[in-house]
């Protein structure tokens, strides 16, 4: 610990020396009506255009400037811009509450000039989503969904229709770090991926990092999806909710102590199983299928310098087949955070985070009665500090101690069952990290964001740990005592991004980053299943490593109303994991013997044009990319396209405020089909027609395309309450997008075979939701 802190402190004191003629302004930016802290609000000095900053996750900002009289300008998308005259002769504390433009006023184009943060900031490969945009994007059955909305961004690909899984720049869906108030969400999907675990009512802010990951994030190769929950209104009690076709939701928020503390509770329950009742099949009729989830958060501000936050999520999916079979799975997370502002330059946050994912499968029939469970539990201690040294250096540094407990499988059976009790040894380990990064404004045009993250993986006993040869046979097997170190891995992860401003409206940026991953998802199914199994890096499994370089051109038009960017990236992947033929992954003590290791490469071009302001807004995103994998025992050791390789990917999102009460929206997507393996011949074995294959993923499903439309009708203004109707049609043109293509003996022409395409959601699916707020 001291070894890390000492050099940091020395570094800090040198920077201090530079900064003495300057004064610092700091404070918190909040929403005037609700008291919610605003994340990423821009704070700048009008007279010194090169001096500016953005609020952090807790609405805190700090900026330093030479002595003088200035105008402080605070702006945030969808809010009135505020200007404040200040006389900077000493350090100042300035807390500002800004007002949201009401939805009715939003029609008017803002008189204030939008800022050019997207061009000027060194960070690249980041997408920040505004909740009002997410709320207007039409989705399946009217369930607003942040994961489905981010899959409309360039570089992000949906795992398929009816699936919230996503691939970022060619990475697998387990290579995304999904955080909800800093807690890892292991399975972000409900109902096999038809819906995500994020209830948008409870969400305040969503950021997705596709490249150039800041050093404070680590542990996954491809992306970071950082989702932050609402804090709750600290001025007034409000209740809002919605009644939809397949689900209903409600949110209650209000002050605990006015202006000091607030709470928010948001709940959602689906009743998709009502559809099952309509079935003529009595087994289906008697089955259950639903999910529910609950988000809750409370905070209390002791004074301007100290605040505590407690937030949690609990969700569960239940699927039951009449009296025979049942399964349930869910995530739960809890985050306790303490903010302390040491002085107007040094901000600290301490977090204790809990995260759990578990599933259970139960068979109730007497002849094979069993219950199988599996879970992963994390306890994480995080210390993050932000230090604004001067007007051109902001340091972030911190520590992270994350403990994993993985219970891979536990089977209990009754005496009449066909099955035995079985318990797979639990696994324990630490993923620890320390990081340091600096946001350095070199000149008014050149900015660097650079840093380093040191990650350490420690796999600990007790248990018996084996090593396996390539054929999967055990070579050695050794038993360790509790807490004894089995294997450790250290990785140094450099992170760098830089931007050079060509003029006020355009810039070029470049980044390089290395990411490593020590926790790996094993699942050889092509559909999103709850039977996710996680393993840590071990004697057999090495940390996955990704090195990514990217560069881009950023250009704004028409006073920053239009944003355009073009980014290219290249990624090298090491120690990727696949499965041997016939792999048995569930409740297998020797699961690591079923794995095979390889490498990969991904590269692409992303074009993005976005209009953020005005009656008509939206974006067009296009990605041209390639993702290939190489495993010695697959495809004769040659590179082959990954399943998620998609050459072309286009998404168009348009939102139009037609009148004061009507808001219309539409999305259109087009993508090259998934890479799939088709037979190149057939033969007969065991009396069955069997297909032969020559190339892995050598074919493509036909391209997919779909257009969805939505409309929101705001109710008439009432003093006490507000209501709105949301209408949507999913797949307006009823395109038949192929879900899977299978091969079989023909049912009509004897002695021949045929290819059969299965589509889901191949018809228009209308939806309606009634929303209320009072």
């Amino acid at each position: 610990m001291n070894k890390i802190l000492l050099p940091i402190l020395i570094l800090l004191s040198t920077f201090q020396a530079f900064a003495q003629k300057n004064f610092t302004i700091s404070g918190t930016i909040k929403d005037n009506a609700t008291g919610e802290q605003l994340i990423g609000a821009s704070v700048r000095i009008k007279e010194l255009p090169q001096i500016g900053t953005a609020t952090n996750s807790y609405g805190f900002y700090s900026l330093t400037a030479p002595k003088g009289d200035y105008t402080l300008q605070i702006s945030y998308i969808g809010y009135q811009t505020i200007e404040k005259s200040i006389s900077l002769t000493k350090n100042l504390d300035i807390n500002v509450a800004i007002s949201s433009k009401s939805e009715l006023q939003e029609v008017v184009i803002s008189g204030n000039k939008p800022n050019n943060d997207n061009v000027a900031a060194p960070q690249m490969g980041v997408e920040k989503l505004n909740m009002s945009q997410i709320n207007n994007v039409p989705v399946l059955l009217g369930e607003k969904d942040i994961l489905k909305t981010i899959s409309l961004l360039p570089g992000v690909k949906s795992a398929g229709e009816g699936n919230t899984g996503f691939y970022v720049r060619g990475g697998g869906s387990d290579q995304n770090l999904i955080l909800l108030d800093e807690a890892t969400v292991y399975n972000a999907s409900h109902l096999f991926g038809f819906f995500s675990t994020f209830n948008s009512d409870a969400i305040k802010d969503v950021s997705l990092y596709k490249g150039g990951m800041p050093a404070e994030y680590g542990g996954r190769l491809s992306s970071v999806l950082d989702v932050k929950m609402n804090d709750g209104n600290n001025k007034d009690y409000t209740v809002q909710g919605g009644l939809g076709l397949i689900s209903s939701r409600i949110k209650v928020e209000g002050p605990i102590v006015e202006d000091k503390g607030s709470f928010m509770i948001s709940a959602r329950r689906t009743y998709i199983d009502l559809f099952l009742k309509a079935s003529s099949d009595s087994t289906v009729k008697g089955s259950s299928l639903y999910f529910y989830d609950l988000n809750a958060k409370a905070n209390y501000h002791f004074d301007d310098k100290n605040a505590v936050y407690l937030s949690g999520y609990f969700g569960k999916d239940v699927l039951g087949l009449k009296n025979t079979f049942g399964t349930n799975w869910g995530n739960s997370t809890g985050t306790l955070r303490f903010n302390h502002i040491f002085n107007n330059r040094l901000f600290s946050n301490t977090s204790i985070v809990y995260s759990n994912y578990n599933y259970a499968i139960q068979d109730f029939e007497s002849d094979d009665n069993f219950k199988a469970t599996s879970q992963i539990t994390d306890v994480n201690f995080k210390e993050d500090l932000q230090y604004s040294i001067s007007n051109n250096h902001t340091l972030k540094f911190g520590l992270n101690v994350l403990h994993h407990t993985i219970a891979p499988g536990n089977i209990t059976t009754s005496s009449t069952s066909s099955f035995n009790d079985k318990s797979i040894e639990e696994r324990y380990g630490y993923e620890n990290a320390a990081y340091l990064s600096d946001d350095w404004r070199v000149t008014s045009k050149l900015t660097f964001l650079y840093g380093v993250r040191l990650s350490g993986m420690f796999l600990l006993g007790p248990g018996t740990f084996s090593t396996y040869d390539e054929a999967g046979n055990t070579i050695t097997s050794k038993t360790y005592t509790s807490g004894q170190l089995v294997k450790d891995y250290f990785n140094l992860e450099p992170r760098f991004s830089g931007s050079y401003l060509l003029n006020e409206e355009s810039s070029i940026k470049a980044s390089y980053n290395r990411n490593t991953q020590n926790i790996h998802l094993l699942s050889n199914s092509t559909s999103a299943t709850p039977t996710d199994l996680y393993v840590m890096s071990s004697n057999n499994i090495k940390p996955e490593i990704a090195d990514q370089v990217s560069t881009g051109y950023f250009r704004n038009f028409s006073d920053n109303i239009f944003e355009f960017s073009a980014e290219i990236y290249y990624k090298w992947l090491q120690n990727q994991i696949d499965y041997k033929d016939g792999a048995q992954l569930i409740a297998n003590q020797d699961v690591e013997s079923q794995l095979t290791y390889g490498s990969g490469r991904a590269y692409g071009l992303e074009l993005f044009l976005k209009k953020k302001y005005g009656r008509f807004n939206g974006w067009i995103g296009y990605t041209l990319s390639r993702t290939e994998l190489k495993f010695a025992d697959i495809n004769n050791g040659n590179y082959y396209p990954a399943r998620q390789d998609r050459t072309h990917d286009l998404s168009v999102v348009g939102i139009y405020q037609l009148t004061k009460r009507w808001n219309l929206s539409a999305t259109y997507i087009y993508g090259t089909g998934n890479a799939v393996t088709y037979p190149t011949g057939k033969y007969e074995i065991g009396g069955l027609t069997t297909f032969s294959y020559s190339e892995r993923n050598g074919y493509r499903l036909p391209p997919t395309q779909r257009m969805d439309i939505g409309a929101t009708l705001e109710g008439k203004q009432h003093k006490k309450y507000h209501s709105s109707w949301t209408f949507g049609i999913y797949n307006v043109f009823a395109y038949r997008n192929p879900y899977i293509i299978t091969f079989r003996d023909s049912k009509t022409v004897p002695n021949t075979t045929e290819a059969v395409e299965t589509s889901i959601f191949a018809t228009r699916i209308p939806s309606v939701t009634w929303n209320f707020k009072f």
Binding site: I634, G681, I685, I740, I741
Partner: protein, 265 residues
């Protein structure tokens, strides 16, 4: 494990939501003419068969050219050589041979200037106790039946099984391969869940139970996983790992066999 039910439930639900299928034309590659060897040796005294053929293009009819003129033999671990003779074309057989459990058999096939060999060990015989039928989980309105097999798994040793189901003498187009990873030593009741042939009361069902060795289990289990309705939910397909070297399509299996027939109630 019955995770298979999970996937079945999933597909049923998908079906309810909205799914539709159609037969399509696809341009597929044609890698045909590859040698296919299917060799079986059982404990039942009588003829044993090894079949040699070639694969054909997907668009061809399901008729597979026989490979004639090969030299085919099987040797056992005691050094006995059993020569197989060809009749009819592509089918090589020995009129009377009975495999012994615990013995390892080596198949040798010489054709096209290449020598193919494969080893397989015949596992211990496990008795198929009974076959029953009961109402199918799904399509309850159609009053369909499904078949369950019952047997005592021997404790303390790994066992692998393959079942072949015939309904009114027509083979069901599904692979049924199981092991005792989760059921060692238990009295086992396994449902042969399939959606190829509708089974009604009064139908004649015939079940062949095979006790197979581990590599052959992996072979069949891989094929079973690739079935879109199978336990893998449709994993990326590939040719199943053969025990024949050099690699070609097919397998050589020394296994025990027992066949029972019953009238579905």
């Amino acid at each position: 494990m019955r995770t298979i039910k999970l996937y079945i439930s999933f597909f049923i639900i998908l079906g309810i939501i909205t799914s539709c299928t159609k037969v399509i034309d696809l341009k597929l590659g044609n890698v045909s003419g590859q040698l296919v060897i299917e060799g079986n040796v059982t404990q039942v005294p009588g003829p044993q068969y090894i079949k040699l053929s070639r694969n054909v293009a997907f668009t061809s009819t399901n008729t597979y050219p026989a490979v004639s003129g090969a030299t085919v033999s099987v040797t056992d671990s005691l050094g006995n050589i059993y020569p197989f003779t060809e009749s009819p074309a592509g089918t090589y057989s020995i009129p009377s041979m009975a495999g012994k459990t615990g013995n390892t058999y080596t198949m040798t096939v010489v054709t096209g200037g290449k020598t193919y060999t494969a080893k397989s060990t015949m596992p211990g015989f496990v008795h198929l106790d009974s076959i029953t039928s009961r109402a199918s989980f799904f399509n309850t309105s159609k009053n369909l039946r499904q078949v369950t097999v019952h047997f005592q798994d021997p404790a303390g040793i790994p066992n692998q099984y393959r079942f072949v189901l015939y309904v009114n003498s027509v083979q069901v187009k599904s692979v049924f391969a199981f092991n005792d990873d989760f059921s060692d030593g238990r009295y086992s009741n396994i449902d042969l869940i399939e959606n190829d042939i509708d089974i009604h009361p009064g139908d004649t069902a015939k079940v062949e139970m095979q006790c197979i060795d581990k590599p052959i289990y992996t072979y069949w289990y891989t094929l079973m996983q690739q079935d879109p309705n199978g336990p893998g939910g449709g994993v990326t397909p590939s040719n199943p790992p053969t025990n024949i070297t050099p690699t070609t399509l097919g397998y050589f299996s020394a296994h025990t066999t027992q066949t029972e027939t019953f009238i579905v109630k």
